[in-house]
């Protein structure tokens, strides 16, 4: 069946056609749609879940693979950092059923966070990492990843980048294969599935090394890496994953400029790790110059240097080491073409040369902010008000932020947050500043999903060590920034099947927090008062600011009492805009104007209007 799907959906369908039993993951752009699309399907026989965090997701999938099923877990690159502790352990142990870890990197940083190259993780744990390019290849490789995993009896990475995880193409999709209903009682094998003693650990290390060799042979036997030899003694190019497409287009550009590209040796790799020694060696012996085209780090390039040295080949290697390409940013066809022109010693064809102007510099800046009706707006307005009433200027108060929509308190008009690090890091990071005795009250803010993900351990630590700080949990009931995923705190009626809601208030109470405030962000004063009171108390204080995400509430037709503007009373003081930054309010000639298509009647603007021109 032909279907137009995104790269992420292609992975979902690929896993289904491989008979996957368990798919677990944590939302993270650009990887989210694999599980999001699976959860929309009716899939009896397969367990699909949003897990609490990526480490948990990996462990759930690993358990199923140890039992003998095919299992997959999904995450963005930052999530792999979280999951890696357990992942490397399973890489050493190996698995029985196919185990595939899908991770999406983000060269060019479209979604924020570190521009890291997760291929480095594959190197560290000696794990094969498939890097498909086109959407059809993504689908095919999703299945092949399971086959390789079972062949070598170890976990396999499937790595996409934003470019192919997010883009859509019409591809051929096969039928779903049903997984086995159950598995027999597993064999107890402590030499494989524990790390009990040096002998066991070192035997596992040897097994791990052997597995990668097996994977290299499997890929070579199947001829997945595509080699086209060109003129002997000429130029060659080795590319991998998404860059293979850029290379093809660069060849087209060169053809347009009269270059005979059949002379150029080309090796398209479907993986950096395992290194395709035999085919890379063929390229190196055929060429006098070789261009290495890989996004981000020069992992492939360094191996090529090593192989050239081992084989005593006098060959010119062009890539990042000689400055032909950069280690940052997303690549494109033109960039690859520039490198090839350099290798071929020709000028870049004129029709490709664009002026060096950058007209985008004149574009109006558009800092991202809260949606109209977002409850987080009320929380930050309340924090600002509470600080002021406690006698602080806001620039004098140190507040750590965390990952997710809650970080937008960093943007104007709030400008309240000082740091953004990693899921749940706001609380321990703030603790470090508390120990440092900086001249400021210490406040940490984070969202509900972030709290469950990795925030709880940090809160427990702060409570145990009796740190003077205020923790604000902005609980909107959803993992919102990645596009509304269910988390443990999502209301029961929106949980899937037998899933159960956990109540953050009970969790925090259970930790023994004495000063716990529950406030409503649509009532700015309730937040302000909680802040003021918390700043006067010792130890860890927690404010839970609760109100459902406005987008999700609107989808379920939740309505609020209408907000109306009395234009005659508006004095155009701009206070509502300056305090709230609400995108539904614009300043017009005689008064402000509220855009009813955006406004959800949250009423926050009415709470700051000095003349009563906005009423609810």
């Amino acid at each position: 069946m032909k279907r137009t799907v995104s790269g992420n959906e292609a992975i979902a369908y690929g896993a289904l056609s491989a008979g996957v039993k368990v798919v677990s993951g944590y939302p993270g752009t650009p990887s989210t749609e694999v599980i999001a699309s699976l959860l929309k399907m009716d899939l009896p026989g397969t367990c699909v879940e949003w897990s609490t965090n990526e480490k948990v997701a990996f462990e759930v999938a690993a358990g199923a693979a140890l039992a003998g099923h095919r299992a997959m877990c999904t995450m963005k690159m930052s999530g792999l950092n979280v999951a890696y502790d357990s992942l490397i352990g399973i890489a050493y142990s190996g698995c029985r059923g196919g185990l595939v870890i899908y991770v999406a990197d983000d060269p060019g940083v479209t979604a924020g966070m570190c521009e890291q190259d997760t291929r480095g993780f594959a190197l560290m744990s000696d794990m094969p990492m498939l890097e498909p390019g086109s959407i059809q290849e993504v689908y095919d490789m999703a299945k092949i990843a399971f086959e390789i995993s079972e062949k070598i009896e170890g976990p396999v990475f499937l790595r996409l980048v934003t470019n192919n995880s997010q883009s859509h193409a019409n591809i051929e999709i096969g039928e779903r294969v049903m997984p086995a209903d159950d598995m027999p009682m597993p064999v107890r094998d402590t030499a494989k599935f524990t790390k009990a003693g040096a002998a066991i650990c070192m035997a596992q290390h040897q097994d791990l090394i052997d597995r990668l060799v097996k994977a290299e042979k499997y890929i070579a036997d199947k001829d997945y890496n595509r080699l086209a030899l060109g003129k002997k003694g000429g130029v060659g190019i080795i590319s991998v994953g998404i860059v293979n497409g850029y290379k093809n287009e660069a060849f087209e550009m060169l053809t347009g400029a009269g270059v005979n590209v059949a002379d150029v040796t080309s090796l398209e790799l479907i993986a950096t790790v395992p290194f395709a020694e035999a085919k890379i060696a063929e390229v190196l012996t055929n060429c006098n110059t070789v261009v290495i085209a890989e996004e981000l780090e020069g992992h492939l390039e360094k191996y090529v240097y090593l192989l050239a040295y081992k084989k005593k080949l006098d060959i010119k290697i062009m890539g990042k080491e000689d400055g032909t390409y950069k280690r940052i940013g997303e690549y494109n066809a033109l960039l690859v073409c520039r490198g090839l022109c350099r290798a071929l010693d020709i000028e870049l064809p004129l029709f490709l040369v664009k002026t060096a102007d950058s007209p985008e510099q004149y574009c109006a800046k558009r800092p991202i902010g809260f949606c109209a009706g977002c409850p987080h707006r009320g929380t930050y307005m309340g924090i600002e008000d509470g600080l002021k009433k406690s006698g602080y200027k806001k620039e004098e108060v140190f507040i750590t932020g965390d990952i997710g929509c809650t970080i937008l308190g960093i943007s104007p008009p709030f400008n309240l947050l000082w740091t953004e690090l990693a899921m749940g890091a706001s609380i321990p990071l703030a603790q470090g500043f508390a120990y440092s005795r900086i001249p400021s009250p210490i406040i940490a803010t984070l969202g509900d999903s972030t709290f469950f993900h990795a925030g709880m351990a940090g809160l427990v630590n702060a409570i145990q060590h009796n740190i003077n700080m205020t923790v604000v949990i902005l609980d909107n009931g959803w993992t919102a920034m990645t596009g509304m995923q269910i988390n443990p705190g999502t209301q029961q009626s929106c949980q899937v099947g037998v899933w159960k809601q956990l109540d953050i208030v009970s969790v925090v109470k259970g930790f023994g927090v004495e000063n716990l405030y529950i406030a409503d962000p649509y009532n700015m004063n309730s937040i302000s008062e909680a802040i003021q009171d918390s700043l006067s108390k010792e130890g860890v204080k927690v404010i839970i600011s609760r109100r459902e995400c406005a987008i999700e509430a609107a989808r379920r037709k939740v309505t609020y009492k209408p907000v109306t503007l009395i234009p005659d009373k508006c004095i155009r003081c701009k206070r509502c805009i300056n305090m709230s930054g609400c995108p539904a309010i614009t300043l017009e000639k005689t008064s402000i104007v509220i855009d009813n298509s955006q406004c959800n009647n949250c009423g926050l603007c009415t709470q700051v209007c000095p003349t009563g021109a906005i009423v609810q």
Partner: protein, 198 residues
Amino acid sequence: MGNYFDIYIVGIGGQGVLTIADILTLTATNKDIEINYYPTKGMAQRGGFVKAQLRIGRQPNKFSPSISEGGSDMIVSMELCETLRTIRYGKEGAKYVVLGNRWLPTEVMLGNAPYPEEELIVSEIKKSGGVPVVLSPELVPEYARPNLFLLGAAYGCSELNVFFSLEEIEDTIKNRWPRVAENNLKAFHAGMKAVNSL
């Protein structure tokens, strides 16, 4: 133009930028024309920069989803100043079909930051060898969704008709929203008409 057509579509979240790309993707798929559609939404639900790259007629199995600098055959922009972000991608002679909407960021609204004049945008397009086609937002009829109006304009002044007949695009629009088909088709035709009477 060869057998390929690359389009760069930009605007602000909430304007329906991705719908323009959706309609073209569906039409291509219905006709079995190769297409790759690459949306980038960024982090904002609404009010942030949104772009979509459409590559029509290229085998997605061989090429990548990204359009290189100087590689786009046409630019479609739903917001005046966001057009500036596309200029490095336009080919020599590429048409820039721009809806002259101004979606002001808060700082601009408060008078704390500048917003470029239309003349600057037009001159930057021309300087890069592009052909500006700027449509005033006043041309969009009251009943019409601006994105479908702009799609009509883009169709009416480009080589898109080499790939898709008018009926084929109309069918996609009709089938996408059957209940409001008539209105949407009117919006599309209003765009075509507006661009042809410039």
